[in-house]
């Protein structure tokens, strides 16, 4: 067997193996090196996987050669190959960013442990995406969540501890709901393999257990992806975590949760069951619209810019769920595009904020006065990321918004399209509040503040560049997202 055939497992195992090594080595540099190597190798593997899947269809990998459905199967199709690319792209950018940022924000002693947790979290997220076994999903979910709690708690502010604790409680409840759902599914069908499940479930649609399982999974997953009104853990967790962690989590964790939702409800239960029998689309439509509107509004009134962006994230998750609620290929394309695009823009924005933290130690909006002149490159990155968030053409934000509106018009839902556009303007308002303060307010003191170091700026600008490049040349990402959407809807050619 060639090494290429083992890519699906390598994707998960490499960071998993490197993580304990990080914890064992006492050198900060070495630990960082391992983390960076792990992230970059993940990116390489995921890109190869995506191209392989695009070229020749889904890949099935039997762990330990135990044939599915009895053994654990890793099954890579366009959908999760796409998610793997999203996660590992961000992971690679954050890994390079982390070296300086983490050194400034996390105590020396804890740095190797930080990178161990980082790699664990990464491998957990990749595992969720790669596996084709529902119980395995739960295991990886807990690996990523537990390490995420630890990562968040490493923030400088003591509120990081309480936010991590709250996240732990909410996250564990969510995960437990998911296990209950999985258990009930197993009780009905006797299998844990996703493909097997998707074949057996249509025969037992009417069973009450299946519907109960569906309900438990829905609540658990929505907690994990912070869908309004189950989002309460998110804003503080993002606001007080170390900058690198915020960038990483905001760009990946909720995205993977969205993926889980898509996988469970569209692949395993099937679009016909979710939309036809359970009426999921109507419920999600309502929640998504409320999330988008109310959270954008809340974001406008935040004084802590990190928390402002966190609320914006909850609103943006609403966009992804909105696309799903259209129950159409166009809508799902929008969801999958926004999955990646939002990761790019929030990654860039939180990284830019990390630069600010590095220099002035605060992200309160008043503390950012006059930064446009003092840290021109950082703030320019912030503006560019912000414009992408608003959805200005030639940025990725525009691409996903375009498909979202197109999807709404396809369904004839005019008010939805208008609401999406109005909330874009609201995004402009909260981004512009920061821009105005940074460029028009005189700085609070005369203390000289230098531009952030290159090691922070380069990864930040790399993401900004991706925001623009993939906004101008979106053909490829659209192609992948569309194919993935077709796979999920079961209309793939």
């Amino acid at each position: 067997m060639r090494i290429v055939d083992h890519l699906p497992i390598l994707q998960v195992v490499v960071p998993l193996v490197l993580a304990p090594l990080c914890a064992l080595v006492r050198s900060r540099r070495l630990a960082w090196g391992l983390a960076a190597a792990g992230s970059v190798s993940s990116l390489v593997v995921s890109l190869r996987l995506l191209s392989a899947v695009m070229a020749s269809g889904p890949i099935s990998y039997a762990i330990g050669d135990w044939a599915p459905p009895f053994g654990i199967e890793y099954r890579i199709d366009v959908v999760n190959a796409w998610v793997l690319v999203v996660v590992s792209t961000i992971a690679a950018a954050v890994a390079f960013y982390a070296r300086v940022s983490v050194q400034a924000e996390v105590g020396d002693r804890r740095i190797p442990l930080f990178y161990a947790a980082y790699l664990l979290c990464l491998s957990g997220l990749l595992g969720i995406a790669a596996t084709g076994d529902v119980f395995n999903v739960f295991v990886f979910l807990e690996i990523s969540s537990l390490s995420a709690y630890a990562l968040i708690s490493l923030g400088r502010d003591r509120r990081a501890l309480t936010s991590a604790f709250r996240y732990l409680i909410m996250g564990s409840v969510g995960a437990t709901f998911i296990v209950i759902g999985i258990g009930l599914l197993y009780a009905t069908t006797g299998t844990l393999n996703m493909e097997d499940l998707s074949e057996i479930l249509p025969q037992v649609w009417d069973a009450r257990t299946v519907k109960v399982a569906y309900g438990f999974l829905a609540v658990g997953l929505c907690l994990k992806l912070a869908l309004f009104p189950l989002h309460l853990w998110l804003p503080n967790a993002y606001a007080f975590a170390p900058s690198a962690v915020t960038a990483f989590m905001a760009a990946t964790a909720t995205k993977v949760a969205v993926y889980m939702l898509l996988r469970f409800f569209l692949t395993i239960f099937g679009a016909a069951f979710s939309f036809g029998v359970m009426g999921l689309d109507r419920l999600l439509l309502l929640l998504a619209l409320t999330a988008i509107f109310s959270m954008s509004l809340v974001a406008i009134f935040q004084a802590n810019v990190k928390r402002l962006l966190a609320y914006s994230s909850v609103a943006q998750i609403g966009y992804m769920i909105l696309g799903l609620s259209f129950a159409s290929v166009t809508g799902l394309t929008a969801t999958l595009l926004h999955l990646f695009n939002h990761a790019l823009m929030k990654g860039a924005l939180f990284m830019a904020l990390g630069c600010v933290v590095y220099r002035i130690g605060s992200v309160h909006i008043d503390a950012m006065a006059g930064l446009g002149r003092r840290m021109p490159l950082t703030m320019a990155a912030f503006v560019a990321g912000g414009l992408s968030l608003v959805g200005v053409p030639l940025t990725v934000g525009f691409v996903s918004k375009w498909y979202l509106i197109l999807g709404a018009l396809e369904r004839g839902w005019w008010p939805v399209a208008v609401l999406v556009l109005i909330t874009s303007v609201m995004a402009l308002v909260y981004v512009w509040r920061v821009v105005e303060v940074a460029y028009f307010k005189p700085p609070p003191d005369d203390e000289p503040i230098a531009e952030a170091p290159a090691s922070l700026l380069v990864p930040t600008w790399a993401l900004v560049a991706l925001n623009v490049y993939l906004g101008i040349d979106a053909g490829r990402t659209i192609g992948v997202a569309e194919q993935a959407a077709r796979t999920l809807m079961g209309t793939a050619p």
């Binding site: 924000e105 309480t162 437990t176 197993y186 220099r359 605060s362």
Partner: protein
Amino acid sequence: MMSELLSQVVGSYNYWIVVFLMMTGFYILISRGNLIKKLVGLNVFQTSVFMLYISLGKITGGTAPILVDDPEALYSNPLPHVLILTAIVVGIATTSVGLALAVRIKEAYGTVEEDEINEIEAGIDDRRAPGRAALRGP
């Protein structure tokens, strides 16, 4: 009719235990302000799921799933039991992370009562930049 319903209710007594435990745990989780008690609630909550899985695998009259010579032997399903071993490990890990956080919170706030913590947090002024000196963690 009545007795049928009764036997159904009694027959699935394991699920009633699960539901009872689950609700108890959830109630503790929501209603208690003490972080340690919250963790206890979370544990009870999770334990109810362990019970659910374990009872799923049990087949009436079934024996432990070790191969015996009798071809008529009825085995319990081992898979849920194996699965729940993993979940138990996860539960322990969650509890320990939670306890570790509680210890750190106690160090940082001097309390593990949620309302007192909220009071302290409400008094923190975000505007005051900690400055560069405070950037290095403990």
